[in-house]
Subunit: 362 residues, 4 copies
C-alpha cells in the first residue's frame, strides 16, 4: 500500500526507473472528456529532463502511450492507463548502491524495508522519474479544471538565497498564472531567474546541488469546498504533495510567517466586492477550517537540493558492516526545483479535481 | 465525510462546542491494553484551558467518560468510545455570527457550505474544543507507543519573535522529551519561555493574539516504516496534523531551510555507531523516500494567532449583503500555541501507532 | 478496523451489550435535514425486542439520545452521534462463556483473536443488540431517501418451510412496500404469516430456534447508479448487509435460481413504457454490470436460526483443554427473522444514500 | 471510482475488451516473492477461452507481460503491473449496441451513466475479459498463500439442473482441492460433469446459454481472522466476489439452507481433535461473527447464464425512442461457469491475502 491512492478519483502510479515501463492508471474521471494530447505533452515537457542547461543532460522522451480508457480521444468512463516505455537499459551504474546507500536517498531504509529485494537501478520506484506518470494524471486533471474555470499555476519562489516575487495573493489572475507557467524558467521576475540560474550553474560546476521553494496558486474555486478535521483541503493537498520526492515542507497562506504575526494582522477582513465576499488580505491562503473561502488558494513547498551529487560522501558498506566512502557517477540535476514546478501543479490538480468530484460540483 | 478517519486504526471525532457532548471513537486498538486513566488525564490537562494566565480564563473540566470498549480497564477489541459532556449551555453570545462571520474563522465558508444550518454556537464543530477528543485518542496512543519504546514529545519552538532552543536532532533522548512535556510551559529554555509569556500577556492586554511554532520529535522508531508515494510518513503525518485547527504549515527535518542549502550539506552522511546505522546530521528529519531511517523523526508546525480577538474588526452582514463591523466578546486564548503542543503530540501518536499496526510491527 | 465504515458517508458503530452504552456516529449527511424523531422511533421499535410473542421477552427501551450533530432538530453538517444507554447491569450469566464457547456464536474465534480480553457479557460487541445503532443510522437514511422518492421495504420471505408471497419484481409500488413494513408481522400473505408464527412458537417450546429469509426491494432509483467491478451496487450492498449478524447469504434478482435458467429466459427484454425504459421481467434484480437499471432493486438474504438456544449443546472447556457440555440460560429470540427485517432495510438505506451522495445525485 | 480497490493490498484493473490492452496493478505484496510464471500461466489458461468445446471458439492468448514490480523474477516492493495486449482489432460487430442495448448486459445503464461515451466494443470495460487481469492478481495471491499452507479450490457445483457432489465441509483436504482444480472440467463427480457438458452442448445448439453454481473452499486459515461488523470475512469476500460479472448470489456454509434449519441442527458443536478445536459439522462455513473459526471456509456463488445469445431478443432503439429487435452475432460461451471457477478462486485469494497482510499474519 503505497502507490495507489483512492478517493473519489483513484490514482495508481507504477514503475521503476529501469523497469520496462513507468505509468499510471487514473480512475473516476467523468466520461466524455476530450484530452488535448498536445497540451498534455507540452505540460509533460515542462518536467522532462535534458531540455536546458539547468537540468540533467540525460534526455528522456516522455511520451505517454494510452492503453485504456479512451474511445476516439475521449474518456469512456473506464480507467485511463498510460505508460511510458523506458529506453534506458538496466545499467551496472547502480550495483554498488545495494551495499553502500547514498546519503539523502531512500536506499538505506528501502534496503531494510524490502530485505534487499528492492530495485536499486536508477533509484527504482523511489526515482524522481516516477513524477512523470504523476504529471500525466495531473496534466489531464488540469485540463478538466480549466474547463470549469479553475486555474492552477506555480513558479520557482526561490533557489538558494535568491527569491522571486510572490503571486499577488488577493488579485492574482488566470493570465499571470499561465504566463509564468509557460516560461522556460518559471519565475515572475526574470532578473531573479537569471540569478537563480547562476546559482544552479555554480552548483553544477562544484558537482553539488541546491534547493529552493515553489509557490502555487489555485484560482476559481467555489466557496466551501473541503471539510473540517481529517478531510480539509490542507490535509488533502499536503497528503498528495508529499508524494513528490524531495518535498520537505508545505505552508498555506502566510504559513510559517503566522508565527510572528498578531491576530489583528493575520485575520483577513471580509468585505463585499459587489456581490462577492472577499478578504482584503489573504494570510489564510484561501482556506479556513479546512474549507475554501473563494480567495486564491496559495501554498508554498520546500524542495531539498538533489541528493545525487558527484562528490565523495561518507556512507557505509552494509555487506561488511563498516563505514565506507561513496562516489556517485552519472548525470544528475544540480537543482530539481524547476522540474518540480509542474509536479506541484499536477498533485494540486489531482487533489482539487477529486474534491470537486466528491462533492458533486463538477 | 470529514470527522471520521479510517486506516488500520479508525478515529471518529464528534461534537460541537455547545452540543450536549463532544467525544471520540477509536477502533482498531489491540485487545488487552490497560489504559492508565491518571496518565491520560494528566495529558488532557495539558490541553485544558483555564489553568494558567496564558490561556483563556474559561475553565472546562475535560474528564472523559468511557462508554464502550473497556472491560476491567483494558481494551476488549471493541471500539473505544469516550465522551465529555459539555457544561456550557447554549449562549446567545454567538447568534450574531450567523450573519457576521469572524475574520480568520470558518464561519463564512461553513455558512456557504452548510446553507446556514451550521452550528455557530462556540464555533460548533470547528471549535478548537474538538481537539479534546483528539487528545483522548492521542493520549491512549502515546501510552501504547511508550510500551513499545517509542516516545513523542513537543515543545513551543517560538512565540512571536522569541525562539526556543531546538531539540538535538541527532541525540535527543526520551528523558529530555518527557521533561519538556511535563513543564507547565513547555519550552527547553525557560528564560525564553519567560519572554514568550511576556509576549502573550502583552497581546492579551491589547485584546490581540499571537502565533508561534511547535517542534515535535519522535524517537524509538524502527527503520523502514512507511511507504513511497502516497502513504509516506510525511503524507500521513501532515494529513493528520492539519486536523488541528490553526495549523498553517508543516516541515520535516531542515524543512524550509533546505531551500538555501547545498546538497553536500543537506545530505546526511551515514556511519556505523556500533551495529546501528546512523547519520551524523539529521537534516532529513528521520524520513527519506517516505520511510523512516531510524534517526529521530522531527517536524515543526506553524500555529496562527488565535482568530478570536476582542477588537473591532471589519466584516460583512450576510443578512443585508453589506459591509459591517464586528466586535467579539467572550474569553479567548491570546495564544493557542501552548495548548496546541499536546494536540500535535496526539495527532503524531495516532499516526505512528496506525502505521505500526498496519505494518504488523506491534 | 471493524466497526467504522467510511465512504462518502461514514458510519461508526460502538458499544457492547452490557457496556454503559451502545451508539453510532453518522458523518457526511447534508446539512439542514430535519429528522422526524417519531418516525425514527417507530422504525426502531420494529427492531426492538419484547414487544410480541415471537421475540425474546427481554424488553429493551431503545430510545436514542442525540449528543451531537443537530441544531434545532436539523442536521448541521457535523457528525451525528446518538447513544442508547444500556439498562442491563453486567450479569454473571455469561462468565461461563469465557471458557466454554457457544456453538454458532463468535465466542471461540473472538477468544482467540482478542486473547481472552473480549467482552463476553451479552455477546459483547458481537451481540445482535448492536443492530440498534445500525437502525438509528438506517432509519435516518430512510427518511432522507423518502424525501427523494426512494422507498425501501422488506418482508419475511420465509421462516422454516413456510414461504411468503414475493414482491412483484416489476410493478411493486411504494404503498405496498410501506404497508408491509407497517405490519407487526411483516409478511405479504398474513395467512402464511400465521403459519410462520406457529413454527416460531413450536421452536420456542422446544427451546430451539428457526431461520428464514428476507426479501428487500428498493424503488425509485435513478438509472446508472453504481460502478463496474469493485464498487458495484451488489458489492456495496452485500458488504454492508453482512454487517448484520446471522446473515449467511445474499442474492440479487433471480439469485441462485439463475443456475437453472437459460439465457433466453433469464435475459430481461427491454421496452419503452412511454418514455421510460423498462424490462418486462426482472431476473436481474435491477442491477446489471454493477449499475442500477431503473427497475426495482430486489435482493434476498438468508438468516440463520438464533444461535442461543436453551438446550444442552456439546462444546469445549478451553480452560481445561477438554470437551464439555454447555447449557445456556436466559431469554432468547426463537427466531430473529422478524426483527432482522428493519435491519436489512437500514443497511440497504445507508448503502443507497451513500452511493447517491458519492455520485452527487442528492 | 470503480476499478481500483484499496485496502492493505491494492488492486487496479484496467482495460476494455478492444482497447490496446487490459491489465492490472497489484500493490502491497511483500518484497522478495518469487513468482512461478509457469504456474501462473497454467492458472490463467483455466480461464482462457477457446480451449475446449464448452467455451467460446474465440481464442485469446492471455499471456501477461510484466512491466513493473519485478527484479530477477522476484517482487521488489514496488507495484506489480502486468498487461495483456489485445489482439482483436476494433470490429464493427458492436456498433449497433450503441443504440440497441443487449438484454442482460450493462449496455443500457452504462449508456445512461456515461452519456453515450462508454466503449461498447466487445462490452468495453464491462466485458468478462476483464477477469483475465483479476486472475493474474489472484494467481499470484494463490502462490503466496500456498507458501503459507493456505489452499483455495473451487469446482462447478451445478450447471442447469445437474448438481455435482459437494466438498466435504469438515475434512476437505488440500489434495482434493488441487485435484479438482487441475481437471479440465472441474467437478468432483466426472459422471455429473459429463451430464453438465451435455446440457451446455444442448444450449449451444439452440443458440442459448445456461447458468450454474460454483462452490469454493479455503483451508489452512488461522482462527480469528477478520473483524466484526463492516470488515468481516463475509463482507470482504462478497465485496470482491461481486467484481466478477455474472455472479448474482453468494452464500456461506449452509447458506440459504439455514432458512429451513433449526438452531440445534445449524449450531456446529465444538470438540477437541487433539489440541485443535474443531466443529463436528460446518454449517457456519468457517466464519462466525465475521471471524474465521479454523474450519474450512466454504461458500457458493450463483452464475447467471451468459447474456450474449445468438437468438433474436426484444430490446429498444434508443436513437429512435422505440422498441426494436436485436440479433447478436459473434462467438459466445454457452456457459460461463467453467471459466468462472478460477475467477472465484482468484477473487477469494486476493481477499484472504489482503486480510492476512492487514493483520500482520504473513
Amino acid at each position: 500500500m503505497a502507490s495507489i491512492w483512492k478517493n473519489k478519483l483513484a490514482l495508481s502510479i507504477f514503475g521503476q526507473s529501469h523497469a520496462p515501463a513507468i505509468g499510471m492508471t487514473l480512475d473516476g474521471l467523468p466520461a466524455g472528456i476530450e484530452i488535448d494530447m498536445d497540451v498534455l505533452q507540452q505540460f509533460l515537457n515542462r518536467r522532462a529532463p535534458g531540455r536546458n542547461p539547468w537540468s540533467t543532460t540525460r534526455r528522456e522522451e516522455d511520451i505517454p502511450q494510452f492503453l485504456t480508457g479512451l474511445v476516439g480521444g475521449r474518456t469512456c468512463g473506464a480507467p485511463l492507463t498510460a505508460v511510458i516505455y523506458n529506453q534506458n537499459t538496466r545499467s551496472a551504474d547502480y550495483e554498488n548502491l545495494k551495499k553502500t546507500p547514498r546519503p539523502g536517498h531512500a536506499d538505506f531504509p528501502a534496503h531494510v524495508k524490502y530485505g534487499g529485494f528492492q530495485d536499486v537501478a536508477g533509484g527504482g520506484h523511489f526515482s524522481g522519474r516516477l513524477t512523470a506518470p504523476l504529471c500525466i494524471a495531473g496534466g489531464i486533471a488540469l485540463q478538466v479544471l480549466a474547463e470549469k474555470g479553475i486555474s492552477i499555476g506555480a513558479h520557482i519562489s526561490s533557489i538558494g538565497s535568491v527569491t522571486d516575487l510572490e503571486f499577488d495573493p488577493v488579485n492574482i489572475g488566470k493570465d499571470q498564472l499561465q504566463d509564468v507557467a509557460e516560461k522556460e524558467f518559471p519565475v515572475i521576475d526574470d532578473g531573479k531567474g537569471a540569478s537563480m540560474k547562476g546559482i544552479v550553474e555554480a552548483a553544477r560546476k562544484e558537482s553539488d546541488s541546491v534547493g529552493g521553494t515553489i509557490e502555487c496558486a489555485i484560482i476559481g474555486l467555489p466557496v466551501g469546498l473541503g471539510a473540517p478535521m481529517f478531510d480539509g483541503v490542507e490535509n488533502r493537498l499536503s497528503s498528495l504533495i508529499f508524494a513528490i520526492p524531495a518535498i520537505k515542507g508545505i505552508e498555506f497562506g502566510a504559513g510559517f510567517d503566522v508565527a510572528t504575526m498578531n491576530g489583528r494582522v493575520n485575520n483577513d477582513d471580509y468585505y463585499y466586492d459587489g456581490d462577492v465576499v472577499k478578504t482584503r488580505t489573504n494570510h489564510h491562503g484561501g482556506i479556513l477550517g479546512g474549507l475554501t473561502t473563494g480567495m486564491p488558494l496559495i501554498f508554498k513547498v520546500a524542495v531539498k537540493p538533489t541528493s545525487s551529487i558527484g562528490r565523495q560522501q561518507n556512507s557505509i558498506d552494509m555487506s561488511k558492516g563498516e563505514n565506507a566512502v561513496l562516489e556517485v557517477h552519472g548525470r544528475h540535476d544540480p537543482c530539481i526545483v524547476p522540474r518540480a514546478v509542474p509536479c506541484v501543479e499536477a498533485a494540486a490538480a489531482i487533489c482539487i479535481l477529486d474534491v470537486l468530484l466528491e462533492e458533486g460540483r463538477l
